[in-house]
């Protein structure tokens, strides 16, 4: 069984500062998203358990000009090969374009029995890409996976639902999107990092995939949270008086006692 893990890199969120309500990403290094690391770990664990033969990390650069460098972390974590799709026309793609490129790349990679994703990316978390790619490739998809097992031509997953755990099975090939409970991604040691350097890594353009530059289907008008008007009410008096006045105010606002 061969596994392809779709891996997105995003600006290191811990280092992004917000100035005038705009995220400042200039000079912020990229790293592999958190859930993508879970997906990688799941794939490598399957290979180590003998359930998979090869793990390929597939990354769409999406404007990260150092994606081919950053994806080496996936190789250090245990992926056998890596493919980066890097094209200026995909510098800031919407989810449809991402899915189209990934689906085409998966086809070009060829052997893929299990396609793994993080449930959502660490930056935008639209949670669309896994399902879209599965649809484009005509694969069954299992979401919210907190456990993945593969045997006898099928994948069996535990799905983490709000109030229950669902166990489902799909025939391979299949696509699975994972959540963070699934595992604790390994931190590669220096030796792994050094070995990663000599693992195969290919960079493809859209033309290599036989795709045209996508026409965007979405336009971001604003992704800012709505600014809240504060009430600026100060309560005075004893603690009991303040509490009463506070509860009254909340009731007047319709927050309490509905």
């Amino acid at each position: 069984m061969d596994i392809v893990v779709c891996v997105k890199t995003n600006p290191d969120l811990e280092m992004v500062r917000v100035k005038d309500r705009v995220a400042q990403t200039e000079g912020v290094p990229y790293k592999i998203g958190d859930l993508e690391k879970n997906a990688l770990e799941a794939a490598v664990a399957l290979r180590e358990a003998g359930a998979a033969a090869k793990v390929t990390a597939l990354c769409l650069a999406e404007g990260n000009r150092k994606a081919a460098e950053d994806i080496k972390t996936a190789l250090a974590m245990g992926a056998d090969e890596a493919v980066v799709v890097d094209d200026p026309a995909l510098a800031d793609p919407d989810e449809a374009a991402v899915a189209a490129a990934l689906a085409a790349a998966v086809k070009k990679i060829g052997a893929c029995d299990l396609l793994l994703f993080g449930e959502g990316s660490s930056d935008n978390y639209t949670g669309q890409v896994g399902a879209r790619v599965a649809e484009l490739l005509g694969l069954p998809q299992i979401g919210y996976a907190r456990k993945v097992e593969a045997a006898d031509g099928a994948v069996r997953c535990e799905r983490s639902m709000d109030d229950m755990i669902e166990t489902v099975e799909a025939p391979l090939p299949a696509a699975v999107t994972v959540v963070s409970e699934i595992n604790e991604p390994r931190i590669p040691g220096l030796m792994q990092i050094m070995k990663a350097k000599s693992k195969p890594l290919q960079v493809w353009s859209l033309a290599d995939l036989g795709l045209e530059a996508p026409a965007p289907v979405r336009e971001i008008v604003s992704n800012l949270a709505k600014e809240q008007d504060r009430k600026h009410i100060v309560f005075e008096g004893t603690a009991a008086e303040q509490a009463d006045a506070f509860v009254d105010a909340l009731t007047r606002e319709g927050v309490l006692g509905r």
Partner: protein, 429 residues
């Protein structure tokens, strides 16, 4: 054991400069940096004297992400409630190729790390080296976590604390008395505001140093450098002075108190603190420079004590770049001769001695002990501020003539046994 030709421990300016020179020459080199990226943990005041290193890697500097060329130099001497600022301006600071630039290390180091990678070196962030491996006195590689990697030569560029080199017995443990402690904030301000506040032409920068009251009698001073869209404001105090203090002052409070001074408040008004950091500075001078090369290793940058605080000029970054470069040169020679022993690497020390690095440190040999004189940080700045305060004072009392006013202060503050002694001890710096 996995092997590479050269391991550089520490991806600061010294380590990256060494790696750049080595990678350029086709030496297989790997830089290990414990921070999330190069520059993540590095602190500097903020001014790089580029002039001494412009000819080292000349292709690099034109595109380096510097902040502003320093066009105005200001020194402020502070008494309690009074201060005097002197401005030193010269066309020569900026004409043609500016002599110094303000810098932010997060940006500068990351950029240099990228350049190093473009030359073919491996730069591995998030990788803390735990040990320098030794065999029969020779450094044979490093250990990081569970992984041991061998190398023909290790460049130790781990910065001021020398944890690895002292543990491996290559250097003595650093002592408080040879170090200062720096606290710094990067405070964001719009470029226009910066240019107005420091009377700068667009794009130009200022460097302002403060001496006297701000360090509460301790060795040290405060600094302010203007960046493109922020200022770097910090305070530096002698570690030993700080340690001996018994009044409950915590060192980190000094910067807050400094910012609250009425002279400083308007300079930082309206700014947003974007970054806070603290770091040690080697100030022991040439007497604290360890052995620079041995079997299988070289030491560069702060780890080698290459830092010079000459009261109004602070240098460490230019030394780090130059030393890294000379380390690379020495390693190239050692590689050509196939000899990475102390003898094979000995040319490193020789070239440092004929470069400005050890020459300037040698010239400044007496500065560290001269700076142990507390009057430098208390009496003199105060006296200057008070002298000019009195000259500029007009009140209802009958005024002394100008000369008399000044003479009174000069006699009181500058002509006594202590100051004459200070002048005598200063004659050699």
């Amino acid at each position: 054991m996995e092997r590479v030709e050269c391991i550089v421990v520490g991806g600061g300016l010294a380590g990256l400069s060494a790696a750049y020179g080595l990678a350029e020459a086709g030496v297989e080199v790997m830089v290990l940096e414990r921070g999330d990226y190069s520059g993540a943990k590095n602190v500097t005041g903020g001014r790089l004297y580029l002039k001494p290193i412009r000819d080292i890697y000349p292709e690099l500097w034109d595109e380096a992400p510097f902040e502003r060329p320093v066009a105005r130099e200001l020194v402020t001497m502070m008494a309690e409630g009074a201060h005097t600022t002197v401005e030193i301006a010269s066309d020569r600071f900026t004409a043609g190729a500016p002599q110094s630039y303000t810098v932010l290390r997060a940006r500068l180091d990351q950029w240099l790390a990228e350049k190093v990678m473009e030359k073919g070196a491996m730069v591995v962030p998030n990788m803390k080296v735990d040990e320098l491996l030794r065999e029969d006195g020779r450094v044979i590689g490093i250990r990081a976590g569970e992984d041991e990697i061998g190398a023909d030569v290790v460049v130790v560029a781990e910065g001021v604390l020398r944890l690895l080199s002292s543990a491996a017995g290559l250097a003595t443990q650093p002592k408080a008395r040879h170090h200062a402690l720096g606290y710094k904030e990067v405070i964001e301000l719009p470029p226009g505001v910066i240019e107005d506040r420091w009377h700068l032409n667009p794009g130009e920068g200022a460097a302002q140093l403060f001496m006297g009251e701000c360090t509460k009698g301790m060795m040290g001073g405060a600094f302010l450098y203007t960046n493109r869209e922020s200022i770097s404001l910090g305070i530096v105090v002698g570690m030993e002075d700080m340690r001996r203090r018994r009044d409950g002052t915590e060192s980190w409070q000094l910067l807050d108190e400094f910012k609250e001074l009425p002279q400083i408040r308007p300079l930082v008004a309206g700014g947003t603190v974007a970054e806070y950091s603290a770091h040690a500075i080697p100030e022991g001078g040439i007497s604290q420079v360890p052995r620079l090369a041995g079997d299988g290793y070289l030491v560069a940058g702060d780890a080698a004590g290459f830092c010079l605080n000459a009261l109004v000029t602070v240098r460490g970054m230019d030394f780090a770049v130059a030393a890294g470069h000379l380390a690379a040169e020495a390693i190239k020679r050692a590689k050509a001769a196939g000899d990475f022993s102390a003898a094979g690497l000995a040319s490193y020390e020789g070239s440092l001695r004929s470069s400005f690095v050890l020459r300037d440190l040698e010239t400044a040999r007496t500065i560290p002990s001269f700076m142990e004189n507390p009057r430098l940080f208390t009496h003199y700045p105060r006296a200057v501020a008070r002298l000019l305060e009195s000259v500029y004072t007009v009140d209802e009392r009958p005024q002394d003539g100008l000369v008399k006013k000044a003479w009174k202060s000069v006699r009181r503050d500058f002509l006594n046994v202590a100051t004459v002694k200070d002048a005598w001890s200063a004659r050699r710096i």
